[in-house]
Symmetry: C2
Subunit: 204 residues, 2 copies
Amino acid sequence: MNSDRDIDFYLDFTSPYAYLASTQIEALAAMHGHSVVWRPFLIGATFKITGRKALIQHPLVWEYSLHDVQRSARLLGQSITIPVKFPILSVKPGRLFYYFQERDGDQRMAKKFASAAFHSYFVEQKDITDNQVLGQIGVAFGVDEAQVGEIVKSTVMKARFKAEVDAAMERKVFGAPTFIVKNEMFWGVDKLGQLGKWLETGGW
Amino acid sequence: MNSDRDIDFYLDFTSPYAYLASTQIEALAAMHGHSVVWRPFLIGATFKITGRKALIQHPLVWEYSLHDVQRSARLLGQSITIPVKFPILSVKPGRLFYYFQERDGDQRMAKKFASAAFHSYFVEQKDITDNQVLGQIGVAFGVDEAQVGEIVKSTVMKARFKAEVDAAMERKVFGAPTFIVKNEMFWGVDKLGQLGKWLETGGW
């Protein structure tokens, strides 16, 4: 489904930096005539390969990151709070995302769902691993809590999401957010500037 | 020795990202009427506290970093090659840096030595843990190989450098490059853009 004008945007719903990136990437891409393919995956799955750990597990680093996330959010005109329940295993919103994509044949609603899930988690501090919360979000996208329950435990959507996580690892994605345009990878929300320059110039 | 207009620039001579930052920070600071205090330290010493490891120890991450370092260098008009002997324990250039600072009472020559050491390591791929190499660099700064040998093993300079490393850790510095301006910390060469905006606006 990719074209040379597409940017793959790898995200994990538990990543505050991926949330910040999600508020910027569409406008950045559009400015340079590109479109974005959102690709939720599980950053935790990559830790087994890289030996990395979550930021929160590193003293000093996490303290800095808490400050940095707020500072970056303010600069971007966004608000963010790290929820009490953090990090989360984001399989449920991940499976729902691909469900909407499959159902609709495009990502229009899936992206809106992803933005709503990010907002629910990082702005409203709701637990987006909870079927009731996901049902409340889902209503606007045509699924209620009961349907959410079915979707997130369905064999098909489990396999679908796992295939996406595996594909991300095959492309050597190891962090979130990660952006790939024509095999050129940029890791981190702090790379949005370089990514924009890359799109503008065609690379250097 | 710090004033509110000073930016503390924490570097380790083994860090390719600190090298790239060293080619930019003086001009960036000057543009906004700030000066820079260079502070060589040992990133490895912080790993014991944070539980982090060197980039080279993480599969996939290191592969990306090798590519990213080159891409960032090209954008900055710099050239860089990761030396065969990498990483290094950079105590010797660290001690020499503070020796020049102590000797002169300011950082003018010490900064030039640091830039020369970075260039020797990352452009000429010379081993800057070798007294002969450091002696070749040192000549322009008034020390020959024999003096280098004395300085890097002197109790005074060992203690001086250790105190700097300890002070960096007390300020919760955990990575290189790190910039601190009036207690506001920015980590990573990718933060130079935000740092510049911070200097320009006085913060947000």
